[in-house]
């Protein structure tokens, strides 16, 4: 379906969201850079993770496992389990972007929680694409710059918890999730996923709880919709423009 151009005002609104998310997660990159160097990786290895792996949760897992004396294999396995969800995001995002051939390489690389969340929070196809690319690029640039900053001066800055940066990340995810919680079905799935993740967390390695929580989506999807209004197709994601999406 052809997508009309976005009005200038709407375009700016989406771009502001992209930049906000980049700033929010970029700030978190400072703590990643500092933690990575503290774990014993050198500056280049730290930068390689942010530029090449480019998925915050996986990067923190790699660094955390190495810091606690875990094996390289455990670090790679945990990172990959966490990375599975990006593949799941890709399944959905690939339908919005309509990229082909080599265009899939940069698109895949930028497929992370943030770019996916901003894209699906938009209603119009053009805004979804702008949201994906804008957020992916702004997070990529700011995440790498802040990783460098963190690696170079992070230790001098001290504990990132002092600045509440560890509370900023879940708040950002929550704000991105918010517009998706309009229907009873999505609220049920979100609540079930949170409960599942927290139930599993004390008994499983980092990364597993979030993956197990995906079961909530699979079960909910397999149960027939109660009515047409609950149909979760891509064009009915429950977002109504104007209110809510982060702005």
């Amino acid at each position: 379906m052809p997508s009309p151009q976005l009005a200038e005002e709407r375009r700016k609104e989406v771009l502001r969201q992209c930049l906000s998310v980049g700033v929010a997660t970029g700030a978190y990159g400072i703590s990643f850079g500092a933690l990575s160097v503290a774990a014993g990786l050198d500056l280049w290895q730290t930068m390689a993770l942010s530029a090449l792996l480019f998925s915050g949760a996986s990067q923190f897992a790699v660094v955390g496992i190495i810091a606690s004396g875990g094996s390289g294999a455990a670090a790679v396995a945990t990172s990959s389990l966490l990375g599975l969800r990006n593949g799941l995001y890709g399944l959905q995002i690939s339908r919005l972007l309509r990229v082909r051939g080599l265009g899939r390489v940069p698109a895949a690389h930028l497929t992370i929680d943030e770019s996916t969340a901003v894209a699906i929070a938009q209603q119009e196809p053009a805004a979804q694409r702008l949201g994906f690319w804008g957020t992916g690029l702004s997070v990529f640039v700011l995440w790498n710059l802040s990783t460098l900053l963190g690696a170079v001066v992070g230790n001098a800055l001290g504990d990132p918890r002092r600045y509440g940066l560890d509370a900023a990340a879940p708040a950002a995810f929550c704000a991105l999730l918010w517009p998706r919680l309009k229907t009873g079905d999505t609220r049920t799935v979100a609540a079930a996923a949170a409960v599942i993740a927290l139930t599993v967390a004390p008994h499983a390695p980092a990364g597993i709880p979030v993956l197990v929580a995906a079961l909530a989506a699979i079960v909910a999807g397999a149960i027939p919709a109660r009515g047409p209004r609950d149909g979760m197709d891509l064009n009915d994601t429950g977002t109504s423009s104007g209110e809510q999406a982060p702005s």
Partner: protein, 104 residues
Amino acid sequence: MTLWTTVLLASGLAFALKLLGYVVPHQVLDGVVVSRVTAMLPVALLSALVAVQTFTAPGGGLTVDARAAGLAVAVTALLLRAPFLVVVILAAGTAATLRALGWG
């Protein structure tokens, strides 16, 4: 495994997983059930991330600390329709303030 091997192997696999989502034929997603599942997946994963990042300690054990207060303030701000960046800053500010006061 050397550190470089770990870094590059983790990066290569991460990219391969991301790319997988783009090379699976779209027809695979055309069923109603698959469509519902893929639309619900980000909701479930994002919600689980919020829960895990807010309520777990480094070892995986459950804990309630300054991050929970930050999240509560964030949710309140969202209910009041605050803009995204305000929500994030309020959450970080709440956690930082509580810690400065010696809690969480």
